[in-house]
Symmetry: C2
Subunit: 398 residues, 2 copies
């Protein structure tokens, strides 16, 4: 009927998924075992410990949701928000907007603190809004906005929430493993991430973590969680956070066994490298990329102090067809970079440096192809200059 699908070779330097290392793909394709197999229980235990390390938390309720990051987001909101609850949401891009949608659908009241796309949500903004809205229960925001390439000050924002004894929900889809993440020190109550960004695993899983304080709030809900699939009190029993039941695992749903093999391997690779080494590698690749981009006369969208190393938004210069550039890169070089979303559509490119692509080798390949694609449209450019500048910058960081 249809032929076997053979995917084309791609270098994935968009907003994610990123390229997945060979050993992770090989783990993924290993023979399936049962989701209650003793060997699989060990795998789950190890994944939990490694996720705690990566999130920098002791939270017992730390586990991957068996679905993408948007389900991870929903798992935080559906468990913590009850009808009538006020939730302060920082919105500076697509994913903050999605948080507002989550709150509204659950019958909560979203109080929106907005920054223009490309700018951060600041602790000061949050503090001011909280002073005006004394009934807020939860502060929610996006640590690393994938739609704009902005990193907000999670520690500072959570401090404002903590000083008022409020709960926090933090989107760490793109931040985890790419920049510093410190769930316990920063006092985060619920956070979610995605497997396909800086963890360099295949897409489809969403690591989440909930503080004991969050669990207490969930246990004391007045209304039932509307989602059976995402109800944390049920999922906990399968992922082993059930000391009350004597530690036995109860069947909840059939875990995505092979995807969890892959996550285990990607976490192993990450921790073998070391968390701070990974953060530094992402940062250095980013600084090299920016040096190259700026040497071409192009401009970054985001101010230097709020740039997200793993997602770089570059302003499209006048008289350049941005879609044509992306199309040329994909069709001629097999290189995927991202388009702008929402109000940034057509105005920026998004270049991801995530996982194995946060290296000077990938940065220079990207810059060379990118320069050629621009030159093809008549942009005045010295083809090899950008990658040379990038290499210089990268050397200076070692």
């Amino acid at each position: 009927m249809f032929d076997r699908f053979i995917p084309p070779k791609r270098i994935l330097m968009g907003p994610g998924p990123t390229n997945v290392p060979e050993s992770v793909l090989s783990a993924l394709g290993a023979p399936t075992v049962g989701h209650l197999d003793p060997s699989f229980m060990t795998l789950m235990d190890e994944i939990k410990v490694m996720l705690q390390t990566v999130f920098n938390t002791q939270n017992q309720l730390t586990m991957p949701i068996s679905a993408p990051g948007s389900a991870g987001m929903e798992s935080c909101f559906v468990n913590l928000v009850e009808p009538g609850d006020e939730v302060l949401v920082g919105v500076n891009g697509v994913f903050g907007g999605r948080m507002v949608e989550n709150v509204r659908r659950l019958g909560g009241k979203a109080i929106v603190v907005e920054s223009p796309w490309g700018q951060a949500i600041t602790p000061q903004q949050i503090a001011t809004a909280l002073d005006q809205h004394p009934k807020v229960k939860i502060v929610a925001f996006v640590h690393a906005e994938t739609s704009t390439g902005v990193l907000s000050d999670a520690e500072g924002i959570c401090k404002e929430a903590q000083s008022r004894s409020l709960l926090t929900i933090v989107d760490m889809v793109t931040s985890l493993a790419g920049v510093e993440v410190n769930v316990d020190d920063w006092g985060i109550d619920a956070a979610y991430s995605g497997s396909q960004k800086c963890l360099a695993c295949v897409p489809g899983l969403s690591p989440v973590t909930f503080s004991d304080k969050a669990i207490e709030v969930i246990k004391n809900r007045k209304t039932e969680v509307t989602s059976w699939f995402l109800d944390k009190t049920l999922v906990m029993a399968y992922w082993g956070n059930n000391a009350e039941r004597g530690g036995a695992r109860s069947y909840h749903h059939t875990a995505p066994v092979n995807a969890l093999y892959a996550l285990h391997e990607s976490l192993r690779l990450l921790l073998n490298e070391g968390l701070t080494a990974s953060w530094t590698r992402h940062r250095n690749a980013h600084l090299a990329l920016v040096a190259g981009i700026e040497s071409m006369g192009l401009n970054m969208l985001v101010d230097i102090e709020h740039r997200l190393p793993q997602l770089n938004t570059i302003k499209v210069p006048a008289n350049i067809n941005e879609a044509q550039v992306r199309n040329d890169l994909l069709q001629e070089q097999g290189l995927e970079i991202g388009a702008g979303l929402g109000s940034l559509a057509g105005k920026v490119w998004r270049i991801g440096l995530m996982g194995p692509n946060a290296t000077i080798e990938r940065v220079t390949i990207c810059l060379d192809h990118f320069s050629q694609a621009l030159a093809k449209q008549g942009f005045d450019i010295d083809i090899n200059k950008a990658s040379t500048q990038a290499r210089k910058m990268h050397s200076s960081l070692q």
Copy 2:
């Protein structure tokens, strides 16, 4: 920190996941591409066409949910049930019970029609209950109860619902590809399945299909769908059911790219074999297994007319430690069979014959090991008799 995980070799003859063919695992482990890559769009289109064929439907809204079967179940209920709606639910095992939970959590009113575990839900039961409850909006039931091994008459039940112009939601997690499924002819409005049963793919995806009538109901909801992740009006736009928007796909969530490679390959294998050939193969393997089991003096839980070929519940005889049998099979032979759930815990074994395990070769391997495990506990048995009887039966069916 931890070693690379190497899964043990298992023959998976429990309630699922089943063993996954080599070519599906190999597709799974192919290099990741972007979820908006043109090649991936083609893959999605082909998956959709193949799922329509497997469900026997022309439904435009036919696609895999990026999460397990329980999320597929939730996607049907969360989109079709509004607060106050009456839903008639047939309950004859775990999964019917979960449907009731879904209805309750969404603020609906579940009217339960119960059959004892191990028995079917009948069209007559449904008709009687519908006559008593004239305000029912939806009839929901499980086609193939994985917890008990019972197949209910989906065609007959749906006819009762259709004659009253009601909607139907049908759980086809274990039935799809293993027994006849005819979504359009039977007049089903929403159905969901799982990738890890008779489709013989890895666990983690839930194929779903919605009729045009169901879509109309969703479009005319008075309240917003509480789940952003499962809101069909949003997912539709990504899976191409968006003629209104000119056919362009809009980004919803990052699809589980590699899992979809695997689903594509498993659907290809299934359709190359042919749907009716697959149904027949499952039935013949089942009849062979039953012949073997009964030749040992053991009894099936379910009456002959309601037995589900792909999931066989066998009563545990007196003086046999059922958990020890499962443990011996797993530890000594690498053979997984299932335990009873709920009120059947300790009383039955569940032997799955799904996908590549619905063959006489796997049936006889299972019977031989099973006989040995029983003999070890002093059960009076002629070790090779069961597999000989199974082979005889199977030959007679060719």
